[in-house]
Every structure is written in structure tokens, then in C-alpha cells.
Symmetry: C2
Subunit: 483 residues, 2 copies
């Protein structure tokens, strides 16, 4: 994977101001900020926690993602004159003009963020981010941080579930851009499905910005645009290691096609000449990368026969066809056609396995659950714990600033994430610890950790990004374990 260039880093920093300007937030953040300011409480030190209440997709885990964008957002958070003038036009006319001066001077120099690292396996109700700073400022950050974390974590987790289902060997290609929820939804999906375990994306911009490997061959429109072999040009191809004289690839392919039809008892009259022309044109353009889509007309009566003929002609010239693509229809039924002819085609078809699976709509839009419900809750002001009480006990918040530890057993396996008050002493390695599993009716269990790690790190301290990470190096790394 190519590392993103520093130009790209600059572009990402600039682009966050375009993608997530400070006004991309709910109006009530500003109305509350004014009420805090009016009563003189805007500078009071406050702490918010970001967490979700249920693992997505009815599953047992989530991957946390979106941190890198959050850091860029915090670093660039500043209201322009134009922003402030717009706010003046939408807040009530009796709003004190001095408030707008205050807004103009705002930034995140007083804000500190502790966060789980990008790509970490995380669980419901564990505070993933702790945002502390002046009350009015950390309040204003709510919507933007939630927006940046919610979808990134959701689609990253979805990708991890596809990876678990596909097993470790099969390659996974994200190809959902056209069905994504907007252009940025598509780009965000490409970025975070890669972190979640995908191998490639069809999205060229994702390759350009984030160094994600890109892949793609052809659509049905390419196939159907051809009508006859007369459209094929040039009509020759030079053998890989042989003579310099170009070979008439059309005649060669026609010969192979007759033999294939004979061998398989196929009817030449049902074969699409336009499809053969499209395969040949593609093979001449990309002799080393021949991987046509074979279901534009009929896999059994045309696509497969044309593929075999072109592939065998390429083989004769020393090239190695890559494979075929099935795009629609009943995949199981279509696969049934493949075993025999592919045996003599290309070694990559051993066992007739599906090597690469492309996933689009369901992956990027997360059809099963298209949103993650991260929330951002106030837990402390001026050192005093804060709590929201709800008729639904699940929606009541746990007051006070927390510490979060990941407990690891002697074999190195994490087995418990421990949430306790920041003021409590950390769990001792080797010591017995009583804790209360969430949603288990106050039943207490006793555990002995062999190793204890702080799950969250200081990543942004009073306006400064703390980690000495590159532009997106840490961010683009895959999670260590998905289990």
C-alpha cells in the first residue's frame, strides 16, 4: 500500500474545514452556548463522554473509527466572520452582541480529548472518548464529533463482520460508491471498510487520498457497446516471450472458439459476437489483466465460451488470464458452469474458488442497521458529577469522570473492559478484583488480570494533537484482532 504523500495530508486538513465546518452542527448547540455565556458559565470546566448503548447489527462488538477526522476537526475549529454573521441572523434579535465577539474568538485551545485508538475493538456502554474543556466549547463540539464517529465506526464494524464471514483468505472488494449516502458517505465507506478488513476499493479517490489499493475491470455497458468483430482494433497481439511479429488474435480466438464449442457441444449461433469483440478488445488493451464480466448475455451460452476462447488464445501467446467476473443473477447456478472449462485455463482457478468478492450497497449503507447510536453525555461540571435520569433506565447516564481499563489474561487475551471512576485506583495486576458486569442485575464477578492496559489515550491536549502519528499511518492500520 502506498503511503499517502504529505500533499495529501495538507489536502485532508484543508478538506476537513470544507467537510466539517463549525456550522455543520445543530442550532441548539449555539442557543445553549449563548445561555451558558449569558449566565457566565461558559468557561466552567466540563467533561463529556461519547459512547454507544448497543453493539451494532445485533453483534458482540464494534470497531471504533473516525478519530483521525475528529482530531483534524478539533485542530481546525474556528468560526469565521461569515459564520458568525450567519449565526447573528438566525439567533433572536435580542441576543447580546458581545456573544458574537466571544464566538469569533473560540477555538479548541482549552479542549482535551482522551480516546480509544482508531480501529480498536470496543463494546457497548464503554466511554470511548472523553472530551473536556470549557463548557460552552465542548458543548459546541457534540454534533460534529458524533457525526464523524458514528458512521465511520458503523461501516468499519460492518466490514469486519464481512471479513469474519469471508474468512481470512478470500479477498474483499468494497464497491458501494454509487449507492452510498452521498459522495462523502462513499468515500468514508471506502476508507473505513479498509480499516475494517477489506482488501480493495473500487473508489479511485480513496486510493488517491488514503493509499487504499483500488481494483476494477469492466461493466456490462462496455460489453454491450460492441456489436461485431469489426470494432476490434488493433487486431493483433505480440506474444509475451516469442516472435516480435504480431499475431492475428482474432483468427486465433475464432479457432479456439470453434474447438471450445465442439468440446462442450455448444451452439455457435447463440454466441454474442459483440461480447466476443468486447473481450478481445479488452484482452488486447490489457493482455496481462484479462478478467471479463461474463454475464451480460448468457453465462452458459455465450459469456463462458467467449471467455474460454480469448483466454486460450492469450495462453497460447504466453499470457495468463486472471479470471472471470459474475455480476448478477444466481451465482450458485452460474458457478456450476465453471468447473470444466476453467481447469485448463489458469492456475488461479484451482478448486474453482471465488477468490474475490465485491460488496456494494449492503456494506456501505449498512442495510441491516444504517446508523450507530453514539451519544455524547455530560458527566462532570466543575468537578461535580452530572447525570441524566430517564424513565428508560438504559438511557440514564452514569455520572462522573471515568477510567477504562482493558484486562488481559495470562495468554494475552483481553477478557474484560473495566469502567470505573477516574478517582478510583487502577486494578492491580495479579490481584483479585470484584466487578459488576453490565446488564447482569448487580451480580458480582471476581477476576484476576494478568495485564492491565488503559484503553484510552490522551490524543489531543489543550489544543495540540498529542500522538506523533503521521498523516494517516495509525489511522489506516488494521485493528490487531477482531474477535
Amino acid at each position: 500500500m502506498a503511503a499517502p504523500s504529505s500533499n495529501t495530508c495538507g489536502a485532508m486538513e484543508r478538506s476537513i474545514r470544507e467537510r466539517v465546518p463549525p456550522l455543520l452542527t445543530d442550532l441548539y448547540q449555539f442557543t445553549m452556548a449563548y445561555a451558558y455565556w449569558r449566565t457566565g458559565r461558559h468557561q466552567e470546566p466540563a467533561v463529556f463522554e461519547l459512547f454507544f448503548r448497543d453493539n451494532p447489527f445485533g453483534g458482540g462488538f464494534s470497531l471504533f473509527a473516525g478519530l483521525h477526522d475528529c482530531l483534524l476537526f478539533l485542530r481546525s475549529f474556528r468560526l469565521t466572520d461569515q459564520d458568525v454573521e450567519f449565526l447573528r441572523s438566525v439567533l433572536p434579535p435580542d441576543t447580546d452582541p458581545a456573544f458574537f465577539q466571544f464566538l469569533r474568538g473560540l477555538d479548541c485551545s482549552g479542549v482535551t480529548l482522551r480516546s480509544v485508538p482508531e480501529g480498536t475493538v470496543v463494546f457497548a456502554r464503554v466511554p470511548l472518548m472523553e472530551v473536556s474543556g470549557p463548557l460552552a466549547v465542548v458543548q459546541l463540539l457534540e454534533t460534529s464529533l458524533l457525526c464523524l464517529v458514528n458512521y465511520a465506526s458503523l461501516v468499519c464494524s460492518n466490514a469486519a463482520r464481512f471479513r469474519l464471514a469471508a474468512g481470512p483468505k478470500r479477498k474483499l472488494l468494497e464497491m458501494g460508491l454509487r449507492r452510498a449516502q452521498g459522495p462523502d458517505g462513499g468515500l468514508t465507506a471506502s476508507r473505513y471498510t479498509y480499516i475494517g478488513g477489506f482488501d480493495f476499493s473500487s473508489n479511485v479517490q480513496a486510493g488517491f487520498l488514503f493509499g487504499i489499493p483500488v481494483a476494477g475491470t469492466m461493466a456490462h455497458s462496455y460489453i454491450t457497446s460492441f456489436t461485431s468483430l469489426e470494432e476490434v482494433w488493433p487486431q493483433t497481439l505480440v506474444a509475451v516471450n516469442g516472435e516480435k511479429d504480431p499475431v492475428d488474435i482474432i483468427s486465433l480466438t475464432k479457432g479456439w472458439l470453434s474447438r471450445v464449442c465442439e468440446l462442450l457441444g455448444a451452439e455457435p449461433g447463440k454466441i454474442s459476437e459483440g461480447e466476443l469483440a468486447s473481450f478481445l478488445s479488452y484482452a488486447i488493451a490489457y493482455p496481462q489483466n484479462f478478467l471479463p464480466v461474463i454475464d451480460s448475455y448468457s453465462v452458459a451460452c455465450s459469456g463462458l465460451l467467449n471467455f474460454c476462447a480469448v483466454a486460450l488464445a492469450l495462453c497460447e501467446l504466453g499470457y495468463r488470464p486472471v479470471g472471470v467476473r459474475l455480476d448478477s443473477g444466481d451465482l450458485c447456478r452460474q458457478r456450476a458452469f465453471l468447473p470444466f472449462p476453467l481447469m485448463f485455463c489458469a492456475s488461479s482457478f484451482q478448486e474453482n474458488a471465488i477468490d474475490v468478492v465485491g460488496v456494494g450497497t449492503h456494506l456501505v449503507t449498512c442495510t441491516q442497521q444504517p446508523s450507530l447510536g453514539c451519544v455524547y453525555k455530560l458527566v462532570e461540571v466543575r468537578g461535580k458529577p452530572k447525570m441524566k435520569i430517564s424513565e428508560d433506565p438504559e438511557k440514564s447516564t452514569v455520572p462522573g469522570r471515568k477510567a477504562v481499563y482493558r484486562l488481559v489474561d495470562a495468554e494475552g487475551h483481553p477478557f474484560l473492559d473495566l469502567v470505573c471512576l477516574a478517582a478510583e485506583s487502577p486494578p492491580e495486576v495479579g490481584g483479585s478484583l470484584n466487578c459488576y458486569p453490565l446488564r447482569c442485575d448487580d451480580s458480582c464477578i471476581s477476576v484476576i488480570p494478568a495485564h492491565v492496559a488503559c484503553l484510552r489515550q490522551d490524543v489531543f491536549t489543550r489544543g495540540q494533537v498529542r500522538t506523533a502519528r503521521g498523516c494517516s499511518k495509525v489511522e489506516m492500520s488494521r485493528p490487531v484482532a477482531v474477535s
Copy 2:
């Protein structure tokens, strides 16, 4: 609604290059473009159609949206040196270097777009857009156009369904930014739910960019940040039309609270002082806009009592409280608390109706169906009709360039969208017309239109935007009828 300024127009044009650069597409568009170019077919005149196969949400219609962004995209479509260099790095090394020169010079000066207008009620399988131009160029546009139309139309249609369910009078507020699929997903949702029939958005940037009315009051965090009445400052308020001497609003409210508790038999000990302090602070900051969220603790035992006390104090000073907000829990149960006390509060509570409904996650992520399946199919090359045949007859395409007419009856009601070949003569007004409804097994019906309208317009002709529309005037207008 404020019209967007011309500065905003420029910003939108610049921003489309940032949001939808030419590389934000599938790699196979470029591999196909090379194969077309290599065989000398890249300039052949070609026609693609954009349509969806099924109305979303199991419904009977969709709203078409995203056109304005498509026009900006087409106008700005140009590959930079950096883009082309990136493509050189990902295409096979034996790609002819002259192809990259060709890419560098590409634009949409040869492209023509016929389209249904923004916000039109449309139906499945009707070609909504027709994109014609040089084969390689119109192929390259596929993914971006689909991405811009799919989500915009989906979320616009979803909004229209909420509007139909809510009836014409109730106000609808979009507030889904935090749960949207990325920042742009949130902004796109705000923009197109407004076209779909919503009245406000919580999204400030949507107000800034598109002139959409914004609304919002406060979150639970604002309420829970307060502990005691000592935090309220200033502690006085001036009456609307009365004396200039400020009134001690805290004492006034305390008096009203006692009376409210007495009247309702409520226990003063269960009332949250912090909540009362937060209401008072907000009322002092926004005496004309008092609309607190009353379910941070308990609606019946605290929130409603505090609201009544502050609202009555405001009334005494000549202000008119706006209402209350219920944010979570069992809405029906909570509403049951409202009738009695609100009768003497504010006239806007007549009949205790819910005046405004805010919708977030389900609206913006379109939970019921989070993607619209618009496709982009080749129908003609060099004047010859083109078709994709599929094992699934629904996925086979209808070849040839089409005309689309909306037939209207004598009362002015549209009753049929007619798709026919462009070469056929248009239906005659008052004449009997035989046509074959889709999915009706070749049964023929006969209709007599009183008026015939072309459903699509030439909006982009050989590189030029045709309509003399303002920046987003046409775009932001609501559909005429949703039925």
C-alpha cells in the same frame, strides 16, 4: 426563507470539486475508458439512461433529486495533472502513455443531459436522465451521477412520506446530522428533506448554504449542567411593556412554583433545582423563545412543574412562552400529563397539539431502505440500440433512445408517464392512445390525454448549463404535488 447569496453559489461550485472530484468514481470506468480509447471507439456517440427499477420504501412514487449537483459536477469535470499521475500509477504499466494525455484534456464539452426537473414526482423504470456524448466520457460519468442522484432522491422521497403521514399543518424538523452517514450525508439530508416537504433543519450549515430555516433549543446536557439556583445570572428580567426596573425573576418563579405544586398536589421535594435553574437561565437569555426540554429527569414530578412556574412568571412579565419539548421516553404517556397545566399557559398549546415533530435517524439514514437502486444503462451507440440481457427479465434493459411524456387528464391531473422511442411521434392531445403498462403481462390499455408534457428537459447541452436558473432557486423549490 433567505435566498442564498451569490457568494454561496460560488462556494457551492468550488465545493463540488472538493466533494465530487473526477476520481470519486469506480476504477473500472477508467479501465473501460482505456479499452475504448485503445480500440479507437472513445469518441463514438453514445447514450446512457439513468433510472430505478422499484419505488423506494415499497411505496408508489419517488421524488427525483440531485440534479443541481449533477450540473455542477458536469461543469467542473476535469482531471488535474495530479489525478492523471495517480491513474498512471494504478493502471497496468503497459498502458499507452498517450491515453493519459487524452485523459488530461477531457471535459464535458461534448456531453448533453436531458433530465426530469429537481423535485419531480417520478416512478420506477422511467428514464429520468439521458446522458449523451462521447462513449468514453459518458461512461466515466456513471458512478458520480448515480452517487449524486441516488441518496438525494431517496432522502427526498423519505421526507415526502413523513410529510404525507404528518398532514399539511404540522411542522416537521429534520435533526439527523449526528446519525447521518458522514458529514456530507447529513448536509445532503438537510438539503433534500427540505425539498421533500420538511419545514426546518437543526443543521446550521444547511441554513448557511441553502437558506433552509434552522431551529433548535437545548439538549439534556444543558439541563443537567445546572445544580442550583445560585448558578442563575442575571437574576432579573425586564417586563415587556412595563416598568424599566428589572424584576426578580427567581422570586417570581418560586412563587409560581409553590402555587403550581399546591394546585397539582405535587411534592416539592421531587423537583430538580438544577432543572429549574437551567429553565430560568434559558428564559432570561431568551425570554421570547422559551421552549425547554422537560424530560431530563421526570416530566410529571419535575420538568412540567418547573416549566409551568417559569412560563407563568414570563407571562406575568408579558412574554409568551413558546412550548415544551419532549425528547425521549413514551411520548403518549408523557403527553397525558400536559392538558391541565398548559391550558393556562400559552395559546399555542390550544388543543394540546404537537405542533412540531423532529425526526432524526430514521429520516436521514432511511432505515427502512437505506439506498435507492438507480442504475445507468447504455441504450445506444452510433445510433444503434443497445441492450443488456439478464436471466432476471427485470434486469434486462430496454434498448434505444426514449422520449418520456407525462399525460394529464381534463382536470389537470397527471395520470400516466409514457415511455416510447425518441423516433416515435409524440402522443396527440385528445387522441386515443394504446399503451402497455409495465409489469402487466402485455395487456394493452387505451387512454386519451387532455394535455401532454415532456417530462424531461435539456438542462446541459454540449458543456453548457441550459436553464437560466439561479444558484439553487429551482432546486430548492418544493415539488408541486406529492400524490
